[in-house]
């Protein structure tokens, strides 16, 4: 039946063509909208940062009519997981925001583009050499620091004043901090602050206040189970006293300010990085102040200036030049800097920093003043954490959960953590 066969073949051929077309539609999607270059730019942050980033990106698109930028953002924890998945699938975004903890793993895993190749459009001359070097690995610039940040004890000014407890001064030790939290809890009837026991960052500050560090120079563990036991015993006691948040609240932390006890109106203070603390303003309109983190008992500061975050370009991007242009714009463009303010930390471009520091408004100014007050008093930052640290941050929080839910003693949990950390850092 030749006729029949022909018909069959026609139909099947048509089906095949359809399939190919459908498959084609799902493809790269590079030149949507009349030959425009489309860049994907992803980052983590809060709504405040989102609004400003969108404005800056709109300006970039206006200046570069041939480029369209698709942005997406989420809270830190979710972002970290999504980016890891994308990167592993060879589908890393063209431009991505990176954390200090991710640099080592992403650069050595071949996810990031060597930015020296795009020197022509990406200027780094006005960034402090030491700060710029934090984005280098094996003498290759894989990422550009985007801002400078440090930790702080953000607090609700109105609530603290109302409690009658003396406001924090320009420095305090961990025991003074603990006393203040106890006093706050007593006066306000709710915990003074977020339980810092779950935070590897807070632990690092505490550790550095005693002259120790999270990691050794060769990427091993810089502390012992005894150190961690002492830290968790300290925070666990505060939790039992009600001076810091109960386990039920602490476990809800996901890196967003909205889910901190302070953001939820369940506490008076919170330990956070200074830049994201701007997110508290939307939740606590009466005002937030930024005193420094507690220091060691002898006054040794534990906190440090850290490159708050980086921008990197995906090694597999189809448009390295355009991606580098976007990075350059976000870091070196004066107008962009004005829009972005200090939402990702104080700008790294020296001349922009000098020019904009006086123009900073509102909370951006609070952050700039806070950093200025610490200038010269802090110790040098540690080198970028080893790859395994990325996972250990979550482990730290989880192991402390076992303590705060009273399923393990601080010693048991600390020993658990140290065992797991050693295995993680070895592999």
């Amino acid at each position: 039946m030749p006729g029949h066969r022909t018909k069959g073949f026609c139909a099947s051929a048509a089906a095949l063509v359809l399939c190919t077309m459908l498959a084609g539609c799902g493809g790269s999607g590079e030149s949507v909208g009349g030959g425009k270059v489309v860049l994907r730019y992803t980052w983590w942050g809060n709504p405040d940062r989102a609004e400003r980033t969108e404005q800056a990106v709109a300006l970039f698109e206006k200046q570069h009519p041939n480029i369209q930028v698709q942005t997406s953002f989420s809270a830190y924890e979710a972002y970290k997981q999504k980016l890891a998945t994308q990167a592993a699938g060879g589908d890393a975004p063209d431009v991505m925001q990176l954390d200090y903890r991710q640099i080592d793993q992403y650069a050595s895993g071949g996810v990031l583009l060597d930015l020296d190749k795009e020197k022509a459009v990406l200027r780094t001359g006005e960034i402090d050499a030491g700060l710029l070097a934090t984005g280098r690995l094996d003498d290759t610039q894989y990422a550009i620091p985007q801002g400078r940040g440090t930790e702080t004890v953000a607090y609700d000014v109105k609530a603290w004043k109302a409690s009658g407890v003396p406001l924090p001064g320009r420095s305090w030790t961990w025991s003074e901090w603990a006393d203040a939290m106890r006093a706050l809890a007593e006066k306000t009837g709710k915990p003074g602050a977020t339980d810092p026991g779950q935070s590897e960052d807070c632990f690092e500050v505490w550790l550095r206040g005693q002259g120790k560090s999270l990691y050794t120079k060769d990427g091993g563990l810089g502390f012992t189970a005894d150190d961690l036991t002492r830290w968790w015993t300290f925070t666990d006691r505060l939790r039992r006293e009600g001076a810091v948040s109960p386990a039920e609240q602490t476990t809800q932390l996901d890196g967003s300010v909205e889910n901190t006890p302070l953001g939820r109106g369940e506490a008076t203070a919170d330990s956070n990085w200074d830049a994201p603390a701007s997110g508290f303003l939307a939740l606590i309109p009466s005002g937030v102040a930024l005193p420094p983190m507690p220091s060691g008992e002898d006054g040794t500061p534990g906190q440090y200036f850290k490159p708050s975050m980086f921008l990197g370009v995906g090694a597999g991007t189809g448009h390295p030049k355009e991606a580098a242009q976007l990075v350059d714009f976000l870091i070196n463009d004066a107008q962009a800097a004005k829009i972005l303010g200090a939402t990702r930390g104080i700008p790294v471009n020296e001349s922009i920093r000098e020019r904009t520091e006086s123009q900073l408004k509102d909370f951006d100014k609070t952050i700039a003043d806070y950093q200025a007050s610490l200038e010269g008093s802090l110790k040098a930052p540690p080198q970028a954490p080893p790859s395994g640290d990325n996972a250990l941050q979550a482990t730290f929080q989880r192991d402390y959960d076992q303590v705060s839910y009273e399923r393990m003693s601080p010693r048991e949990a600390a020993e658990n953590y140290v065992t797991e950390a050693k295995a993680e850092l070895r592999s």
């Binding site: 073949f9 139909a11 924890e77 050595s108 990325n390």
Partner: protein, 314 residues
Amino acid sequence: MTTTDIPAPAARKPAATTAPKRRPKRESQGPAWVFLSPWVLGAIVLTLLPMAVSLYLSFTDYDLFNPPRWVGLRNYVQMFTEDPRYWRSVMTTLTYVVIAVPLQLALALAVALALKSMKRGKGFYRSAFYAPSLLGASMSIALVWRAVFNDGGTVDNLLGTGGWVNKPGWALLAVALLTVWQFGAPMVIFLAGLQQIPGELYEAAAVDGAGKWRQFVSVTVPMLSPVLFFNLVLQTIQAFQVFTPAFAIGAGKGGPADSTLVYTLYLYDRGFVASHMGYASAMAWVLLIVIGAVTAVLFRTSRSWVFYASEGDR
């Protein structure tokens, strides 16, 4: 998800293939293959190939970024002998299965029985009870669930529970309840099964003086046992693979204090949070084998309690 897992009844063989001893003029298989190709390709590229790769990865150390490194059985050894969290996730999953599956089936059967004897509005209630099964697998419902059972959420306000999702002893129950609530799919199947039971059996039983309960035990349950078995197997397999509700309710971490760390969540944690894809692959294969074994055991026990009406004819 729920409905797609139900195996389609075996297609009736076309009459042409049963009778002839010699093939009529060879018909070209070309068009058939062309039409099938998307599915054949799909099966190979999207199912078989990834499975093969995953099996390979399970014998390697692979951090997603650097090339996999062959480590032989190390992942499996580590899993069984050196990883307390692995065993915790196994126990959590088993607890979950034991809570969720019987509760869900009991509820599905109860509602199916109620609907069967209902005179009016059957269609409405059937849809209403089925709706959660359609919605329930989604992340958004899981998040709503989290809000409902959270500290300060609806349940807290009504019962003063203080929020189940933040209590290690209660969080898993919140996860299980979300699954139980999605009893629509087994309910519809029960309903179909109930309607198959011949009315004469009940009449005969009634004549013999059996009350409602007696009828249920002696007529409904045995007649329904194949359907019950079918639902039990399906729901058990699904329960072993629970992920979305645990992910949402445990805030992506299996929290609080690992109390909702079900197997697949730990697998995800190892693979995508800790970047140990080799280990995660090994976990996936163990899960596959365990589910296979559990299903086999269920089939074995079914011989003693599942009654097929056709058996009487033999």
